[in-house]
Amino acid sequence: MFDSIKRISNLGWKAFVRERSIMVSTIFVLFLVISLMGSIFLLRDMGEFLVASIQERIDISIYFKDTASEDDILTMKKQIIEFPEIKKVEYISQDKALNNFVEEHRNDFSLMGSIEELGVNPFLASLNVQAWKPSQYASVYSFLITLGADNMIEKIDYFQRESVIQRISALSSTLSQTSLYVVAILFLIAIIVTLNTVRLSIYNSKKEIEIQRLVGASDWFVKGPFLVQGLLCGIAASLISFLSLGLICWFFSARIMNLFIDFNLFELFMARFWTLFLIQFIVGAGLGMIASNIAVRRYLKA
C-alpha cells in the first residue's frame, strides 16, 4: 500500500516536471480561479468594513429643551439603553456640543464671530442613539415616541435622516446577498473552465492511459498520477495566487487608505492570513484533483 502510494506520487511528480507546458497552462487557469476566489473574499470583507464604518456614523439625535435638567436626561438615557435594538446611547451636554462645534469650525472666523456675538450657548443638550442595524431605526424611533416626554424633548431628527438610513440599510443587505450569488456563480464558472483545461491536458495522455490499462495497471494506478499532477498544479497555483494577492494588497494599501480613511487593505490581508491561505490552498488542491478525477474517469470507462 505504502509502496503503491510512493510510486503513484513519484509517477505524478515526474509527469508534472516533464510536461511543463501543459502544467503551466493548467496552473495559469487555476491561478485565475483561485485569485478570483481570494479577491472576492477580501472584497467582501472590505465591503462589510465600509458598510460598518458608515453604519457607525449614523444615529438618531434627541434634542432636549433648555428647561430639561441633566438628571432627567440621564434618567431617560438609562430607559433608552434598556431597549434591545439599541446598541449605544451617548449624552452630549450643551457645553460639549459647543466645544465640539468650536473644535470643528475653529478656522471659520465668521462662524466663530457669530457665536461670540450671541453671548450665550445656542446648542441644545442631546442624546445620540445608535441601533445595531440600520433597519432598526424605524422601530427605535417609535419606541422613543412612546416614552412620552414631550415636555422635555425639543425634536428628534429621525425624519431628516430617514432616507439616508434606509438607503444604507438596503445597500448593506443587497451587498451581503449579492456577494453570495456572485461567489456561487463564479465558482461554477471556475469549475467548468478548470475542468475543460484539465480535460484537454489529459486528452493528450489518452493513448498512454490505454497502454497502461493494456499492460495490467489497475484503475487507481492509472488515475493516481493524474490526481497527483492536479494536486501539484492546485498547490502551485494557490501559492502563486496567495503571494500575488499579498503583494497587491501591500502595494495598493496606501492608495486605498487615501480614499477610505481607517481602512488598511494590507492589515486586512494579514488579519485574514491563515483563513485566506487555507481557502486558496483547499480550493486549489481540491479543484485540481476533482477536475483530474472527472477528466481521467472518462478514459477509464472506455
Partner: protein
C-alpha cells in the same frame, strides 16, 4: 492453457441508415498448450488481431467462449481485468510504448504495476534490457529510438514480469528484414526459456523459417492448423 471455443465475432455498423454486419471471426475453435510457440497467419482482415484482442479482453465475442488457465475471460469483471492482463505480455505492431517515459521507465512501469519491490526492479530491468540489447539506451525516450529498438523495448516490457504467455501482434510489421529476424530470434529464445508465445503475422519468410505450429485464418474462418506448418494462403 488457452482455449478458443466456437468463437464468432461480428461488428455491427450503421451507414446512411443501412445496418451492415462484418464477420471478423466465424466459429473458430482451437487450444494452445503451455510452452507452445503458435503462429497465427492470415491476410490483413483475416481476424488475427481480433483473436488476440479477445484474449486480452479488449473485445467480447458475439458467441463462444475464451478460456485462459481454465477461467472464462468473458466472465471476468472489469475490476479484475488487470489481474488477467498481468499474466500476459503483449507486443504490438505500433509498439504501444509510453512516449513520455524513458526506456527504463517503460519497462519498470509494469514491475511497479504488479507490486515488485524496488530491489527487484533495479535488478531485473537492466537484465532484461541487456537480453534485448538495449542496456546503453536506458535513459532514451522512445522518440529517440529506431523501429527495431522500440520493438525490443516492447518485448522487454512484455518479458519483465515473467508472464505465462506472450502475445505478439504483427511485431515485425513495421521493421526491415534485419530487425525482423532479430525480433523473431528474441521470441524464439523467450519460448525456449518456457514462455508460451502466440505470434500473429502475415510475413511468409518468418513463418517458413520458424518450423512451429501454424494456425491459418481466412475471412474469419480457421482453415488450417498444422504442427511445423508453412505459410500457405
Amino acid at each position: 492453457m488457452i482455449s478458443f471455443q466456437n468463437i464468432t465475432k461480428k461488428y455491427f455498423s450503421t451507414n446512411n441508415n443501412i445496418e451492415t454486419t462484418s464477420v471478423a471471426l466465424d466459429d473458430v475453435s482451437f487450444d494452445i498448450n503451455k510452452k507452445e510457440f503458435v503462429a497465427i497467419v492470415g491476410k490483413s482482415g483475416a481476424g488475427k488481431t481480433t483473436l488476440l484482442k479477445l484474449l486480452l479482453a479488449q473485445e467480447k465475442p458475439t458467441s463462444g467462449n475464451v478460456f485462459f488457465e481454465g477461467q472464462n475471460i468473458n466472465e471476468i469483471k472489469p475490476k479484475n481485468l488487470p489481474e488477467l492482463r498481468r499474466k500476459i505480455g503483449s507486443v504490438f505492431q505500433d509498439y504501444k510504448l509510453i512516449f513520455s517515459k524513458t526506456v527504463y521507465e517503460n519497462v519498470s512501469y509494469i514491475m511497479e504495476v504488479i507490486g515488485a519491490s524496488d530491489e527487484e526492479i533495479k535488478r531485473d530491468v537492466p537484465r532484461v534490457l541487456d537480453i534485448v540489447g538495449l542496456n546503453d539506451k536506458l535513459s532514451n525516450f522512445p522518440a529517440q529510438l529506431s523501429g527495431g529498438e522500440k520493438q525490443r523495448v516492447a518485448i522487454a516490457r512484455a518479458l519483465i514480469h515473467r508472464p505465462v504467455v506472450i502475445l505478439a501482434d504483427e511485431p515485425t510489421g513495421n521493421l526491415d528484414p534485419y530487425h525482423t529476424f532479430e525480433i523473431i530470434q528474441l521470441l524464439r529464445r523467450i519460448n525456449e526459456m518456457g514462455t508460451t508465445v502466440v505470434l500473429s503475422t502475415h510475413n511468409k519468410d518468418v513463418i517458413n523459417n520458424l518450423g512451429k505450429r501454424v494456425i491459418t485464418l481466412e475471412k474469419g474462418k480457421l482453415v488450417r492448423d498444422e504442427e511445423k506448418g508453412r505459410f500457405i494462403l
